[in-house]
C-alpha cells in the first residue's frame, strides 16, 4: 500500500465526521459560481437615500472626504473598510455568503477571478455615464475587455527605480537587477508578492508574465535563485525609503511607489526595462450580493468624476485611466514625476496581468522555494 493510500484510508473515518461539521459550519460557499452572470434589472431612478454602501479599499487610496461628499450629494450612507492586500479582501469575498461589501477595490486578475466565480454584478454602463471620461484603452484590458464586470481605477507599470548618483549609470534591463554589477551587489531589492517577484526573471528570459509553461517556470526559478545572493531584501513596502536612505541603489518598483521616493530625493529615477514589463490595473467591482446596486453604480460614477479622480493622481501619485482627470493635472507634476507622463498607448504595450487559475499554486511554490533557499 502506498503512503498516500494509507493516509487516505486512515483519514476516511474522520472525513465523514469532519465533512458534516465543516459543511454545517461554513455553509455552501460555491453556490454562486454555478449561477450564470445574469444582469438583474436595475432601477435607474431608485431612491439612493434608502441605500447604504460598504466599500472596501486599500488605506489612503481615495480621498478621505469622499464618503462624506457622496453622502451629501446622494444621501446614501457610505462605510469604508480597509484591506491591506488583494488576498485579504478576496478571503472575505470568497468565504461564502454575503460579505456585506457592496463595492470592492481589487487588482485586475482578482476582479477576473471574482467574475469567473460569478461573484460580481455586471456593470450597467447606463448607470455610469462617467465611463466616457476613460481613455479608450481602458476598455481593452485583457482581463476584462469592454469593462463587463470591473471599472479601472488606477493603472501603471513595474520597472526599475534607482538612485542615479549611486548607480553611476542608467540601468535599462531587468538583468541590471538580476545580475548586478559587483559594486551594486547587496544594494538591490525586489518586490515580494508572487507575480512581481517572478516578473523580472520572466521578462529577462523573454517569457510572458502570465506564463504557465513548466519549462519556462523552471528557468525562471533558476534565474531567481541565481539572483538572490545579490539582493539586499525582498521588499514590498519600504523599498523607496531604502533608496532615499541610500541603503539600496536599485530596486524593482511600481511606478507610483517610485514617485514616493522621488518626492524625497530628486536623484531617484524610474525606467521601464527594455525587455518590457507588466500593465497592472486596480479596479472597482460591485458584488453580486450587494443589495444597493444602484448606489454602488452611482458611487463608481462619482469616483470617475474628473475632480475626484484628479485627487487620486495628485495624492497617491498613480496614473488613472481617466482622460478628463489626467488633462486637468498641473503639468509641473508630470515634470517632477516623469512616469506620470507615460501615455496609455505606451502602457498598453506592456503585458496585462491576468488571473493564473490553478497555476497560482506553482507561482507560490517557486516563491517559497526562492525564499527558503
Amino acid at each position: 500500500m502506498s503512503r498516500r493510500s494509507a493516509i487516505r484510508r486512515t483519514l476516511a473515518g474522520a472525513v465523514v465526521t469532519a465533512l458534516a461539521l465543516a459543511v454545517a459550519a461554513c455553509g455552501g460557499g460555491d453556490d454562486a459560481a454555478t449561477s450564470a452572470a445574469q444582469p438583474d434589472a436595475l432601477n435607474p431612478s431608485a431612491d439612493l437615500k434608502t441605500q447604504k454602501l460598504t466599500v472596501s479599499n486599500w488605506d489612503a487610496y481615495m480621498p478621505e472626504d469622499l464618503p462624506a461628499k457622496f453622502e451629501q450629494k446622494f444621501g446614501s450612507r457610505v462605510t469604508v473598510t480597509k484591506h491591506a492586500t488583494n488576498e485579504e479582501v478576496m478571503a472575505k469575498l470568497t468565504a461564502g455568503g454575503d460579505s456585506g461589501i457592496d463595492v470592492a477595490f481589487v487588482s485586475g486578475p482578482f476582479a477576473q477571478a471574482l467574475a469567473e466565480q460569478g461573484l460580481t454584478e455586471p456593470i450597467h454602463p447606463e448607470l455610469i455615464p462617467n465611463l466616457s471620461n476613460l481613455y479608450p484603452e481602458a476598455s481593452q484590458l485583457a482581463y476584462d475587455p469592454g469593462n463587463k464586470f470591473s471599472v479601472p481605477y488606477t493603472w501603471g507599470t513595474t520597472g526599475l527605480c534607482y538612485r542615479s548618483d549611486l548607480t553611476g549609470y542608467d540601468p535599462d534591463s531587468w538583468n541590471d537587477l538580476l545580475t548586478p554589477k559587483p559594486e551594486l551587489a547587496k544594494k538591490i531589492t525586489m518586490l515580494q508578492t508572487d507575480r512581481w517577484l517572478m516578473l523580472p526573471a520572466q521578462k529577462a528570459l523573454g517569457y510572458s508574465a502570465n506564463t504557465k509553461n513548466a519549462d519556462e517556470m523552471a528557468k525562471v526559478k533558476e534565474k531567481l535563485l541565481a539572483a538572490k545572493p545579490g539582493l539586499l531584501a525582498f521588499d514590498d513596502t519600504t523599498f523607496y525609503e531604502r533608496l532615499v536612505s541610500g541603503e539600496a541603489a536599485l530596486v524593482e518598483a511600481w511606478d507610483g511607489w517610485c514617485n514616493y521616493g522621488i518626492t524625497d530625493n530628486a536623484k531617484i529615477k524610474f525606467t521601464v526595462p527594455k525587455e518590457g514589463s507588466d500593465l497592472f490595473v486596480d479596479t472597482m467591482v460591485i458584488l453580486k450580493t450587494s443589495k444597493n446596486k444602484e448606489a454602488a453604480h452611482a458611487f463608481i460614477n462619482y469616483v470617475l468624476d474628473p475632480e475626484i479622480h484628479t485627487w487620486t493622481v495628485e495624492n497617491i501619485l498613480y496614473k488613472v485611466p481617466n482622460k478628463a482627470a489626467m488633462e486637468k493635472l498641473d503639468p509641473a507634476l508630470a515634470k517632477k514625476y516623469p512616469n506620470l507622463a507615460i501615455t496609455p498607448a505606451e502602457l498598453m504595450q506592456q503585458e496585462t496581468l491576468v488571473d493564473l487559475g490553478e497555476a497560482a499554486t506553482d507561482y507560490s511554490r517557486i516563491v517559497t522555494e526562492v525564499a527558503a533557499s
Partner: protein
C-alpha cells in the same frame, strides 16, 4: 451523585471555555485540512489526503528545520542570558526587585511591530551599531547585520527573553536559602553548590522557560519578514502565505496543525519532565 453535579458545576465554565475556544476551532482547522483548495481560496468539499502527504515534501521540511534551528538557537541564548539575569534579580533587595521586574516587562507594553522596526534602526548599515563600531575605529566598512539569520535570532531573543527570565526568577526566588547554607556547611564551594543544588532545583523552570521561548519563536512571522528581509522562510511565514498569498487554506490548515502537534509534544515533554523532576525531589 451530588459530587458529580458539584464537579460539573465547578468544571463547567472551564470546559465550556476550552470547548468553544480550542476544541471547536481545532476541529474546524482539522476539517479544512481534509479538503481541497478552492481555485480562488476557500475550500472545495472533496476529501483528500494530499495535504498531509505534502507535509513531508523536502521543501516544507526544509522550512520547518530552519525554523526549529532558529527557534532552538534563540532558546539556548535566552537560557544563557536569562539565567544570570533571573539570578541577579532574585538576589536584589526587595525594593530593587520590583524595579528590575518592571524594567523587564515594560517593553511588552509597546507595540511589538514598532519594537521590531527599532531593530532595523539599530542594525542597518547606517544604524547605531555600525555607527558606533566605525566611530571607535573597529571596522572601516559598515557590517551587513540586517537580513541575515543572526538578525532574526536577535529579534526573537529580544522579544521573548522575559518569558525565560520570569519563570526562572520565580523558581530562584522560591528556593530555600538554607539549602545553600547546608551545601556550604558540607564543604561545597559556590560553583559546586550551584550545580548540585540550585540548578537541579530550578530545572523545571528551565524547561518551562525554554518551552515559553521556543513555542512563540517557531511560530513568529513578523521578525523573519522584517529583520530577515523576506529571505528566510520560517514556518509561521509559510502558514500565513498559504492563507493570504497562495489562497491554499487546506494546506495552510494542515501546516498549522503540524505546528500545533509539534507544540503539544513539547508541552507534554515539559509536563512530564516537570512531574519527574518534582517527584524526584520529593522522594
Amino acid at each position: 451523585m451530588r459530587r458529580t453535579l458539584e464537579r460539573f458545576t465547578l468544571l463547567g465554565p472551564g470546559l465550556a471555555y476550552l470547548t468553544a475556544l480550542m476544541v471547536v476551532p481545532l476541529v474546524l482547522v482539522l476539517s479544512y485540512s481534509l479538503f481541497q483548495r478552492g481555485r480562488f481560496g476557500g475550500l472545495v468539499y472533496e476529501p483528500t489526503g494530499e495535504n498531509f502527504a505534502r507535509l513531508v515534501d523536502p521543501l516544507y521540511l526544509d522550512v520547518v528545520l530552519t525554523s526549529v534551528k532558529l527557534a532552538g538557537v534563540t532558546t539556548v541564548l535566552a537560557l544563557l542570558l536569562g539565567y544570570p539575569t533571573a539570578y541577579a534579580i532574585a538576589k536584589l533587595p526587595a525594593k530593587w526587585k520590583t524595579v528590575a521586574l518592571i524594567a523587564l516587562v515594560l517593553p511588552f507594553w509597546t507595540n511589538f511591530l514598532i519594537r521590531t522596526y527599532a531593530w532595523i534602526v539599530l542594525l542597518s548599515p547606517a544604524g547605531l551599531v555600525n555607527d558606533a563600531l566605525t566611530g571607535w575605529g573597529l571596522i572601516d566598512e559598515p557590517l551587513q547585520l540586517l537580513y541575515r539569520q543572526p538578525a532574526i535570532v536577535a529579534g526573537l531573543l529580544y522579544a521573548y527573553l522575559p518569558l525565560m527570565v520570569l519563570p526562572l526568577y520565580a523558581a530562584l526566588e522560591r528556593m530555600d536559602a538554607e539549602l545553600l547554607e547546608a551545601a556550604a556547611n558540607l564543604g561545597a564551594r559556590p560553583a559546586r553548590a550551584f550545580f548540585s543544588v540550585t540548578f537541579p532545583l530550578t530545572l523545571p523552570a528551565v524547561v518551562t522557560g525554554c518551552v515559553f521561548v521556543f513555542v512563540p519563536s517557531i511560530g513568529n512571522f513578523v521578525v523573519p519578514e522584517l529583520l530577515g528581509g523576506g529571505q528566510t522562510a520560517m514556518v509561521g511565514n509559510l502558514v500565513r502565505d498559504q492563507f493570504l498569498k497562495a489562497r491554499d487554506w487546506p494546506f495552510g490548515a494542515t501546516l498549522a496543525l503540524a505546528v500545533v502537534a509539534l507544540l503539544v509534544v513539547l508541552l507534554m515533554i515539559q509536563a512530564w519532565s516537570a512531574r519527574r523532576l518534582q517527584g524526584g525531589r520529593d522522594a
